[in-house]
Amino acid sequence: MRGIPTVLITVSPEVSAQMRPPRALYPKGFKVGNSLGRPGMRELQRRVLRDALLLLKENTRPGSFVTREYPEYGEQYEPPRVRNK
């Protein structure tokens, strides 16, 4: 099997990092269940998905998490933490 490039969109970067994904986008302050943004916010959802796909074209170090801010999301949330670390 050949490898397939992947990009993860995660709202729980600390939890996701345990699985060592090749590259990941963390939309800062999004709550769990809102990986792409809030319901109906299609332009925001498009921005997040474009930014995630564009990470594939950046020369990121394997395992990097890139944090991006999207003020239009509104109220911000703290990401879940890894327990018993």
């Binding site: 992947t6 729980s12 319901p39 299609r42 998905l49 394997p62």
Partner: protein, 142 residues
């Protein structure tokens, strides 16, 4: 199968152009078609199965079965965890070339990590590799 060191990060570079790429979505958010068998949320060990979601599905036919995150927003707009309509937008604006024939939903909660890692994950990779013709995969959680 190849076993990776605990510290190794598997990495496949992307050498192509996004405007020529076919994109698949694999979500751990418990997404499936309404007429597919729901994930088993009564088993405390989790559910190791996955569902294949065809590219031409109407997103109103998708739902979430997952008991480890609040999916009320996804119930309202599945694109917040499974951005199939968003991908369609990006295809219309020629940001990507095509949408893969197959996408995958599974329930990203398990107490059987070894079975998930050695069984489910390579099966999903095979499904994508052989059946979807994807150049690129977007992964999402809840």
């Amino acid at each position: 199968m190849t076993t990776l060191s605990r510290k190794c990060v598997p990495f496949t570079p992307f050498d192509g152009e996004l405007s020529r790429a076919t994109v698949a979505v694999v979500t751990a958010g418990g997404v499936h078609l309404k007429d597919q068998e729901p994930f088993n949320i009564s088993d405390e060990l989790g559910d190791l199965t996955f569902r294949v979601i065809p590219a031409d599905v109407d997103s109103s036919q998708l739902m979430v079965t997952h008991h480890h995150y609040d999916h009320s927003d996804a119930d309202e707009d599945i694109n917040v965890v499974f951005p199939l309509d968003v991908l369609r937008d990006l295809q219309r604006e020629d940001f990507i070339r095509d949408i893969a024939k197959k996408h995958i939903g599974y329930m990203g909660y398990t107490m059987q990590l070894k079975a998930m890692y050695e069984g489910t994950a390579p099966e999903i990779a095979n499904e994508i590799d052989r059946g979807s013709r994807a150049d690129v995969v977007v992964l999402t959680g809840g």
